[in-house]
Amino acid sequence: MAERAVALSDRTGLIAAALVAALILAALVAVFAAADVGGGLGAADWAAVRFTAMQAVLSALISVLLAVPVARALARRRFAGRGALITLLGAPFILPVIVAVLGLLTVFGRSGMLNQIGGQLGLPPVSIYGLHGVVLAHVFFNLPLATRLLLQGWQSIPSERFRLAGQLKMTPRALFLALEWPMLRQVLPGVGALIFVICLTSFAVALTLGGGPRATTIELAIYQAFRFDFDLGRAALLSVVQLVLAGGAAVAALWLIPAIGLGGGLDRPLRRWDARGGVQRGIDVTAIVLAALFLLLPLGAVVLRGLRGVFHLPLTVWQAAMNSILVAGLSVLVLAVLALPLAGWIATRRRGGAEAIGLMGLAASPLMIGTGWFILINPVLDPARLSLPVTSLVNALMALPFVLRILVPRLRETLQDYGPLTQTLGMRGWALWRLLVLPRLRPQLGFAAGLTGALSVGDLGVIALFADQERATLPLQMYRLMGAYRMEAAAGAALLLLVLALAVFFICDKWGRWHADA
């Protein structure tokens, strides 16, 4: 009904949008200027492109396919611990990649649990390194995400339909065809596209589990060109390739990617009258147990191993932890300054277009932005001195698309509900933010801040480009310990990192929900 634009100032939003665009475009321009086009892409570069695309396709496909039975089981079963399991499904999103990798190594690695059991059965050892390791880690991260999104899909089916199906005594097959398949057909492409885009720009997983000529992503190739060969031209050229690939995919996926909710209501099981048979029950139990084990074993392994190592952590780890907290705090701050006005600007606009600005962060890979800023900073200053601020900034930009997806729908709804009232009252400017927007968005803000903080604490990306021996964040320090085969200390650091990431998320999210009444 409110056709008049609500008096949220466009100016601050435009400034924020311009700032985001400038940060990314400056990096882009620097990269393009430095790109060594003359040489073109070598054979190794093409291999990286192929590997990047292939692992992303495989990761997306496997995650989505496995998520279907798990989500279906969760949607139609009620059991003790269901709520906890669904909460746990949210964990990998804020789980530092390097921590998960250590967990996966402990379970699936050369001397891991699986190989030990296999060895006793006389099976040859399985290596986790290479394509299947990268895909395994990506599935570990994205299966839960896919499951949650599909569960949302299941819950979007009105309960009356299931009641009707129960009355009609529809067979599982008929119910699947009539109710579940139409929903899946709508939701699956978006979920797959989202995971595909996320995996395209994967760096830390490839850094730790990939590598070599047969398992290098573009992102990793940028890092190697940069770090080992110090070939800025080639790093820049690869960045351009990455931009075209990931950017193109992100823009294409923009229309498919589903909204990210707070996950409220997911723990509300629906009463179902179908799928009471033994076979269906067996399938569901298997899916749930396997999914839970797949998630819990690596996490449990990190905790157990870490408990042993956490008491003899070197001082450098604690220093790195302080740096990480600093980086995370700064990221959240930057994000608040950028995301709030941006969200305000987008929410008062018609759907579509404006949201693309936030997605620029997703399209431009972190290492590409990092490379660009390294090129810009290098002639003026020692980039290592700016490693922490740049990391914070890039982390904030990376979180921006997710944060906008969290904030904008709620803001839109708030303005729709209370816009007319604020107008008759003549509320505008800062008063409107202070009295309406901030209090109404507090839960979303807390969630978004927690997400950003946790992602930033656990990020192993740009920092690897910029850091020198003195400056490191906790994930980088942990990676160095792993590289030096100091696994005990690395495990301790992993536990510390895990606790930090979860604590950051928990504190912010709690703040958001505190007094979040009505």
Partner: protein
């Protein structure tokens, strides 16, 4: 005085024409079939929906393009009349200061208004802790402190039970009389019309008809109104 001068509202296929003069201090009931444009008429008067042609004048001043907050009107919507995260006192206070920087004199006014609607004991509560009727009273207390020349009601009491609705309507009428405001309200119930309306604006067939005396119209309705009333 509120003048709708050859006013025309167009929204897609829908269009509504109105040409009338409303006197301040009187109460007008807007009735008509659903979808006829009653709410749209109110929204246009209040400035939420653009006017495609014609003018809207208040006391001779053209307010067609004026911001909803500056038209000397206050409107109660079907819902979302209160901010759930603010206290009752703050919600009322917004009628005085849209940035809520309240001075001592403002607070006195708020307390007086709350006392007038019988909510003195609830000033520190949030709307969620009140009943539906009490929430309506909070909104009315704000109307009282705003003391604007026109009060527009878009069925704000539709969700209340019959007895409570009548009580609220009486309160609205009293408050309007106390502040000397004109009242324009959308309603479905002929009883409400008889109870508080001086005149009736019948909206039907893309036209808001010139207001006529309420009792007379209801007792002796023209064919279109008769068809609507049943």
């Amino acid at each position: 005085m509120l003048t709708l001068e050859e006013m025309r509202i167009v929204r897609g296929d829908f269009s509504l024409a109105a040409d009338m003069t409303l006197a301040q201090g009187r109460s007008y009931a807007v009735i008509g079939p659903s979808g006829s444009g009653k709410s749209t008429l109110l929204a246009a008067i209040c400035g939420f929906v653009p006017v495609a042609a014609g003018r809207l004048l208040r006391d001779g001043v053209d307010i067609t393009e004026q911001h909803p907050g500056q038209r000397g009107m206050t409107m109660l919507f079907q819902d979302n009349n209160l901010f759930p995260h603010l206290t009752v006192r703050q919600n009322v206070g917004l009628g005085l200061r849209p940035d809520l920087r309240l001075k001592a004199a403002d607070k006195e006014k708020i307390d007086a208004a709350l006392a007038r609607v019988g909510l003195s004991d609830h000033a520190a509560k949030r709307p969620g802790a009140l009943s539906g009727g009490q929430q309506s009273r909070v909104a009315l207390a704000r109307v009282l402190v705003q003391a604007r020349p026109w009060v527009l009601l878009d069925e704000p009491f539709a969700a209340l039970g019959p007895a409570l609705r009548v009580e609220m309507l009486d309160l609205v009428q009293d408050l309007a009389q106390e502040t000397g405001a004109g009242l324009i309200m959308v309603t479905h119930a002929p009883d409400d019309v008889r109870r508080i309306a001086d005149e009736v604006i019948f909206v039907e067939g893309g036209r808001a008809h010139t207001p006529g005396p309420a009792a007379e119209l209801l007792d002796n309705p023209p064919p279109a109104l008769r068809a609507y009333l049943g």
